[in-house]
């Protein structure tokens, strides 16, 4: 726990170093939120009832939450660790007096939480203050479930980050996984577009995958685009994926360390 606290503090401080970049990042997310929301508003006006399972207000709220959490919900490996694997500094990482998988998980969690903690409040506040149809509204009756789901999504995102990092024990080169997986995830998770707008068959498949558990699941519950029963099923699905990916991460990291060869001198 103290490891995690130290890593989180470092990650937060790192984020705060680049304040102008952070503000610009928030601004860009706001611009895109406005564009998407207005496009959805036009589509809902002209073809009401075309999207099943999501009202305009829910789609708008989904977009606000998505833009606020984008940095937390998008995937990437731990670049600094991957570089260590390439140039041999990984030896230091292995020598640290902490459980490797636990440490990487803490690191991943810190890297995901720091930008979220700094970006989300402002975007959410602006969303809540918007007038009329563009306002962000949470489904208050299932808010606890939504927040629990968001927490699990964060852990899932960290678990996948660890897996992506550990894959470099085998590939050494991190380019492939760091570039390809985030794009697949973007399309499959709901980050590109609410999964409610996908054709029904595709949507059913995507909702069962871990990508959706990272983004679509919490957002759908938070905006109230599902029944209480569906919310419970979604939480259970997230739990199963979380347990599976954490266990897999543990095994993969263990195997990786055993076959790891330190490069360089």
């Amino acid at each position: 726990m103290s490891t995690f606290r130290a890593l989180l503090k470092t990650a937060l401080r790192q984020q705060l170093q680049y304040r102008s970049a952070m503000l610009v990042g928030i601004l860009t997310q706001l611009v895109f939120a406005f564009i998407y929301i207005m496009v959805y508003m036009a589509y809902y006006t002209y073809s009401p009832g075309a999207a099943q399972g999501m009202t305009l207000s829910q789609a708008v709220s989904y977009t606000w939450i998505n833009q606020a959490c984008l940095r937390m919900m998008s995937l990437s490996g731990l670049v600094e660790i991957q570089e260590m694997m390439r140039d041999g500094r990984i030896a230091f990482e292995l020598a640290r007096p902490a459980d490797l998988h636990g440490m990487w998980l803490s690191r991943a969690l810190a890297v995901r939480l720091a930008p979220f903690a700094l970006h989300a409040p402002l975007t959410i506040a602006i969303g809540l203050l918007m007038p009329g149809e563009m306002r962000l509204s949470f489904a208050l009756e299932v808010l606890p479930a939504g927040l629990l789901s968001l927490g699990m999504a964060t852990l899932l995102s960290a678990a996948v980050t660890v897996l992506m990092t550990a894959s470099c024990f085998w590939t050494i080169d991190s380019n492939g996984i760091n570039r390809l997986l985030p794009m697949v995830a973007k399309v499959c998770s709901g980050n590109l577009l609410p999964l409610a707008f996908y054709p029904a068959g595709v949507r059913a498949v995507l909702r069962a995958l871990p990508f959706a558990a990272i983004a679509d699941a919490p957002m759908r519950i938070l905006v109230g685009a599902c029944t209480a029963r569906e919310a419970a099923a979604t939480l259970a699905m997230q739990g199963v994926w979380l347990a599976a990916l954490l266990a897999l991460g543990r095994v993969v990291t263990g195997c990786g360390v055993r076959r790891c060869m330190v490069q360089g001198g």
């Binding site: 102008s20 970049a21 503000l23 610009v24 990042g25 601004l27 860009t28 611009v31 895109f32 406005f34 564009i35 207005m38 496009v39 508003m41 036009a42 589509y43 809902y44 006006t45 002209y46 073809s47 075309a50 999207a51 380019n175 570039r179 390809l180 794009m183 973007k186 399309v187 590109l192 577009l193 707008f197 996908y198 054709p199």
Partner: protein, 261 residues
């Protein structure tokens, strides 16, 4: 001009030395652009037409703006990463050479990998034109080509402003992404979709609407809430922005103080 071609050719030859890496960069650019296109397609499939704009007509809007941006960002790739040149003090060397600064900065990086985006743009435009229910002959094709050409000029102008701004500050340059990438995302739909202030911003301040929305509305026989002549303003908008870009760039170069040794 000949210096520009020589520099670009040298850069291209360099890129082609690593064919595998080049192919991967093109693919990555293509995939990220396919993602944007997928958003349009999925929304079109779910919702059908957007009021008086059919899916095919929206595809034409998307095609024009996407092709313009793809070509401009390939030509102006050196301007995207210009803040690095300033930070490292590399611009000193550019000034020393007996040749225009813009020629060197643009020529230093003719980035063909950005043509991944061109592919989705061309596919979108072709698909849209093939499915139009209004006649599309030589005159319409010429008008579309003119719009794309003007679009390249306009985006090049924006990139020059982005590059030129680096002479004042190299912080927060990502803000321009909201204009370029955000503008492309936005102008992929008819501008009448957006609320007043956002629409006015992209009609009067950054006139992306002159490139596709206004001319296409006339091409597709729709009534416009604006005077008819506005449909033919694309070259004016493109030229004006290019001129503005050049002015900002010149002013910036004059202001340059070296940061390096």
């Amino acid at each position: 001009m000949s210096v520009y071609f020589k520099l670009s050719l040298a850069y291209l030859r360099g890129q082609m030395q690593h064919l595998g890496s080049f192919a991967m960069s093109v693919t990555r650019n293509l995939i990220s652009s396919v993602g944007d296109a997928l958003r349009l397609v999925l929304l079109g499939v779910s919702f059908g037409a957007m009021g008086r704009w059919t899916g095919a007509q929206i595809a034409v809007l998307y095609g024009i703006i996407t092709i313009s941006f793809a070509v401009a960002s390939a030509l102006g790739a050196g301007l995207f990463s210009f803040s690095g040149v300033i930070r490292r003090g590399d611009f000193d060397r550019v000034l020393l050479r007996p040749c225009g600064t813009l020629t060197q900065v643009l020529g230093a990086k003719f980035d063909l990998t950005r043509f991944g985006r061109l592919t989705t743009g061309v596919v979108g435009l072709a698909w849209g034109i093939a499915r139009l229910d209004t006649p599309f002959g030589a005159a319409q094709a010429a008008m579309t080509a003119l719009c794309v050409f003007s679009g390249v000029l306009l985006f090049l102008g924006i990139l020059m402003i982005q590059g030129g701004a680096c002479f004042w500050t190299i912080e927060g340059m990502e803000a321009f992404n909201a204009i370029t990438y955000g503008g492309v995302a936005m102008a992929s739909y008819p501008l009448e979709v957006y609320k007043g202030w956002l629409r006015d911003l992209f009609l009067y301040v950054i006139p992306l609407g002159c490139l596709n929305y206004l001319p296409c509305a006339v091409l597709f026989g729709k009534t416009l809430p604006y005077p008819l002549f506005t449909a033919y303003l694309a070259p004016v908008a493109g030229g004006a922005y290019l001129a503005l870009g050049l002015l900002v760039w010149r002013a910036g170069v004059r202001r340059y103080r070296s940061a390096g040794a």
